[in-house]
């Protein structure tokens, strides 16, 4: 039946018509994980017993007719979403044996919807990274080419969905961590507006930028998950309580399309852009034009400053957010500390990896007295300017298109020694986080057998529109339907 190819809607139909039970479906994907994941390392933990138990409950609900749309469908969670009594490591030795006492709001909502939590996916340590090479639990491989990185930090989620080890997965995006791995793995990944999805229970990297969202096979699948996880949460003061989060209707018509204008920022197609990728993106833009969308050149003049601003702000917040890992209350503790200082120093020295330490140091420095104005305050000013750039642009256009990443998936180890080059791979994604806007990455082609992703940025809380145009494109094209050969079997 090639179940691994099915969309969430198709799986729901199979479950509803009782052609398959949730238990069977769960076992099916657990089997795929067992069969394929040794090649990918996309999961940190697989919750077989818990998943089977959830599946039994789902089947009871289905046979009683009390199921929701998503009841019985498996999902994988990035290992920074707290899952009650299930290890949540955040990709770090620091939390290797940490059992959260509660579920993150995103997890709770999906559990309540009846989804089966089959496992926790690998990620860059504390979500700091663009290649999934900073994980304490080892590198994750890209299913399209096992020599390549899957992107990061939600590399495990992207790798797992690309190899169809899970129908869909959650991710988190602080500077591109949903969109870039989605692009590298030929998937669709939605980074919602800051405040659309509760951050409660999602282990913080940079609080003013972090946002959870789905990584799926299509815009349609992302819409289904996004609808379930969005909305105000009283436990997260930064979740938006003014927006009326309606169900996403994927019903864009030809008439609507003709009224939509897409902006192409000229700064985003500069010299640093790989020519082949540029060509593929422009082919996609051409396709949108053929579908009836209006295309317009725009400018985002100050976006070249977004990488330094992002790394200052994210690191500053991280340096404070990660202070709590001190060996006193939870997580890793060094052996036999001889004093309080020794406990702090050794716990943090041994518990954190290099990338995390690097960012804690950058952040601590940027907030230090005497440097605060020069670094942190200036970064905040740039952040405001970037937001204003977007604001101006959205006066003229409805969406902004750009590449998701300047390159396709690179080799494992290729950029680990060059931090700056690694950081620059977030050049198109970080401005969106700084502004707090929603954006999606969709697959639009291949370069050297590696997927190329295009980013669609929308105005605040316009996820429904973004999903609609992505879906409109995907109905006319099939870039999103390609599956890496090695994993395209039962």
């Amino acid at each position: 039946m090639d179940i691994y190819k099915k969309s969430l809607t198709q799986l729901a139909a199979l479950l509803n018509s009782k052609q398959i039970s949730s238990k069977e479906l769960t076992k099916y994907f657990l089997k795929r994980i067992a069969k394929y994941d040794s090649k990918l390392n996309s999961f940190i933990s697989v919750n077989e017993d818990y998943a089977n138990q959830q599946a039994d409950n789902a089947d009871k609900l289905i046979s009683a007719g009390k199921n929701n749309f998503l009841t019985g469908i498996p999902i994988a969670h990035k290992d920074l979403f707290s899952t009650k009594d299930i290890f949540t490591t955040c990709g770090s030795k620091m939390l290797e044996k940490y059992l959260p006492p509660y579920d993150a709001t995103v997890v709770k909502k999906l559990n309540d919807a009846g989804m089966i939590s089959i496992g926790k996916t690998n990620m860059d340590e504390f979500a700091m990274g663009s290649s999934n090479e900073s994980s304490y639990f080892g590198d994750v491989k890209n299913p399209w080419n096992l020599e390549k990185v899957p992107g990061g930090s939600s590399g495990g989620s992207a790798s797992a969905v690309a190899a169809r080890l899970s129908p869909v997965a959650t991710g988190s995006d602080t500077g591109g961590s949903i969109r870039q791995p989605a692009a590298f793995c030929g998937l669709t990944g939605l980074k919602p507006t800051y405040g659309s999805v509760s951050r409660y229970g999602m282990i913080a990297y940079a609080s003013s930028l972090d946002q959870g969202g789905p990584i799926g096979k299509s815009a349609e699948d992302c819409a289904v998950i996004f609808d379930e996880i969005k909305g105000f949460d009283k436990n997260d003061s930064t979740s938006n309580h003014q927006i009326d989060f309606k169900k996403t209707q994927l019903n864009l018509t030809k008439d609507d399309v003709n009224k939509i204008t897409i902006g192409i920022p000229k700064e985003y197609f500069s010299q640093e852009m790989n020519e082949d990728i540029s060509k593929i993106i422009f082919q996609a833009i051409e396709e949108f034009k053929n579908l009836g969308f209006n295309i317009k050149d725009i400018t985002l003049p100050d976006h070249r400053y977004s990488i330094p601003a992002y790394y200052i702000i994210a690191s500053a917040e991280a340096s404070s957010n990660l202070s709590r890992y001190d060996g006193v209350k939870f997580g890793y503790r060094c052996q036999d500390p001889i004093s309080l200082e020794d406990l702090y120093f050794r716990t943090r020295k041994e518990g954190f990896g290099t990338e995390v330490k690097k960012r804690i140091m950058i952040g601590t420095y940027a907030l230090s007295s005497g440097y605060y104005d020069e670094y942190y305050m200036r970064a905040l000013k740039i952040r405001r300017i970037i937001r204003d750039n977007f604001k101006e642009a959205f006066k003229e256009v409805d969406f902004i298109f750009s590449p998701t990443s300047p390159t396709t998936a690179f080799n494992i180890g290729e950029k680990t020694s060059n931090a700056l080059e690694m950081y620059l791979s977030d050049v198109y994604t970080t401005p969106v986080n700084l502004a707090g806007l929603p954006a999606i990455s969709i697959p639009v082609g291949f370069n050297n057998q590696l997927p190329v992703g295009m980013q669609i940025i929308g105005d605040y809380f316009s996820e429904s529109n973004i999903l609609n145009i992505a879906n409109y494109f995907q109905k006319e094209t099939d870039w999103h339907n390609y599956i890496p050969e090695e994993f395209n079997h039962e």
């Binding site: 006492p101 939870f330 907030l367 007295s369």
Partner: protein, 479 residues
């Protein structure tokens, strides 16, 4: 010492009286089993987020209005970063820029008994840390996080205070405001009201301030006075001996009455303050402030004047009432309903209800008695239906049993009537038994009256001595 002037500023930490913590729903009640009142948020568990308790904002605004301060239309929380085991997140959520209250002042009586204005720089909100309990016996440190996340308002004065005594006066004034307005329970033993003092000295004619030291965590009026006085003298002695005061944090040792160096400026933390991204700015509009203002009782200073001028209460009586607005409201109601002179009425109140409250650690709300009940009781005393001593007894009865106040008063009045008959015959007996003393009285030795009263009271223990005295005089005059 006379040419030295001391310059003092206080940072008072006022624990706000709210049911739950500033950023979580855990209880703030004092004295629970360690860590029983610490939620995931208080523990700083990964992924948890703070959610502001609105009650805290209301109390801070009330305080701001009470000290004539400016309520910030927009206020923000910041993280103060430092590592300490009883600070679970290793940062404290506090305020740096845009505190909730800016500016303000109160008036105190200075050493020359002249009204002096003490300016307040700011009052900002923050969460308290937990407690570290160092155990020598077990050779380890225990951590109790029940207090972590308790709301605090830190009130920072300008360096306007010029003596330890002024500092105490200022602190008492702030204490009176926060307790009267129920912003805080003001309990100093439990640490609900404590202060840090910044102290420096300079010659009177010097324009520049001297180097200051900070005295940490002083939790009684007496210790504030002692610690500051010690520190002033220490600094003067140091300078006069050719030394130099260094900027540092010092601790007051209550047992030895000295201050000791804790850490120097060089060792001080760089707190790396930055706006807390987990909390949105607090936006406060005029309407909200007005609603709070309209709901506030008269301020203690105005109330004091009213008690002095309208009711002629003594200072002692006023101080009792200004400790708590519920208490003053109760007495105000009684004053309104009773014809009895307020000063006298207040004495009845103190010797009965107030005494009971203090003895059993009760609040006026815990006393089931209403102002109406109390009026009826003291009116009965005034009408001589019952004795003064009966007030206390009736208050006690009303606390434990549900009964009509009138009935209870009637019962006591009847008992008194019966007693009075007894007393008349007792007096007759005492007079006929003691002819010598009667003679002495007749000769003008009026002091002997005490002897007769004493003899009667030997038998009639609960009777009103004043009443007995009156009766004896009447009878003796007839003899």
């Amino acid at each position: 010492m006379s040419d030295w002037e001391s310059v003092i500023g206080l940072e008072i930490h006022v624990q706000l009286m709210t049911k739950s913590k500033i950023f979580s729903s855990s209880s703030t009640a004092y004295g629970a089993v360690p860590n029983e009142q610490a939620s995931y948020v208080d523990l700083g568990m990964p992924g948890t987020l703070p959610v502001l308790n609105e009650e805290v904002i209301k109390k801070a605004i009330e305080f701001g209005l009470a000290i004539n301060g400016q309520i910030s239309k927009k206020s923000i929380f910041a993280r103060k970063n430092y590592f300490y085991p009883d600070l679970p997140k290793n940062y404290q959520i506090s305020q740096l820029d845009l505190p909730i209250v800016e500016g303000g002042y109160i008036k105190i009586q200075n050493d020359q008994n002249i009204a002096k204005r003490i300016n307040i720089l700011r009052a900002h909100l923050e969460e308290d840390a937990g407690k570290s309990i160092h155990s020598k016996k077990d050779n380890c440190t225990f951590i109790d996080l029940n207090r972590a996340g308790t709301p605090l308002l830190e009130v920072v004065s300008e360096p306007d205070l010029r003596s330890a005594n002024e500092a105490v006066e200022y602190m008492k004034k702030i204490h009176e405001i926060v307790t009267f307005l129920k912003i805080s329970d003001g309990n100093m033993q439990e640490g609900s009201f404590r202060c840090d003092a910044n102290v420096s000295v300079k010659k009177y004619h010097d324009k520049e301030l001297g180097t200051r030291t900070e005295l940490k965590n002083i939790n009684s009026f007496k210790f504030v006075e002692k610690a500051i006085n010690f520190e002033i003298q220490r600094q003067i002695d140091l300078i006069e001996d050719g030394g130099r005061v260094i900027q540092e944090t010092r601790l007051y040792d209550e047992n030895k009455n000295i201050t000791k160096s804790m850490r120097s400026k060089e060792e001080a933390n760089d707190y790396r303050y930055f706006p807390d991204p987990d909390l949105l700015p607090i936006e406060i509009n005029e309407k909200f402030i007005k609603e709070i203002k309209d709901g506030m009782p008269m301020l203690p200073d105005e109330k004091r004047v009213s008690y002095q001028e309208d009711h002629a209460l003594t200072n002692e009586q006023i101080n009792i009432l200004l400790n708590n607005s519920d208490l003053s409201q109760f007495v105000d109601d009684v004053i309104k309903k009773s014809k009895i002179e307020p000063k006298k009425l207040m004495n009845y109140f103190i010797s009965s209800i107030y005494l009971k409250m203090n003895k059993e650690n009760l609040l006026i709300q815990d006393m089931t008695i209403t102002p109406e009940d109390f009026c009826k009781i003291i009116n009965a005393v005034e009408d001589k239906k019952i004795s003064k001593g009966n007030i206390k007894q009736i208050v006690d009865i009303l606390l434990t049993t549900k009964g009509s106040t009138e009935k209870i008063i009637k019962k006591f009045a009847k008992a008194q009537d019966d007693d009075l008959e007894n007393i008349d015959s007792l007096i007759d007996k005492v007079i006929s038994d003691n002819p010598k003393q009667v003679d002495d009285y007749k000769k003008g030795k009026t002091k002997i009256l005490g002897f007769f009263v004493g003899q009667v009271l030997k038998t009639a223990k609960d009777s009103d001595p004043g009443l007995i005295k009156e009766k004896i005089i009447k009878i003796l005059d007839k003899v």
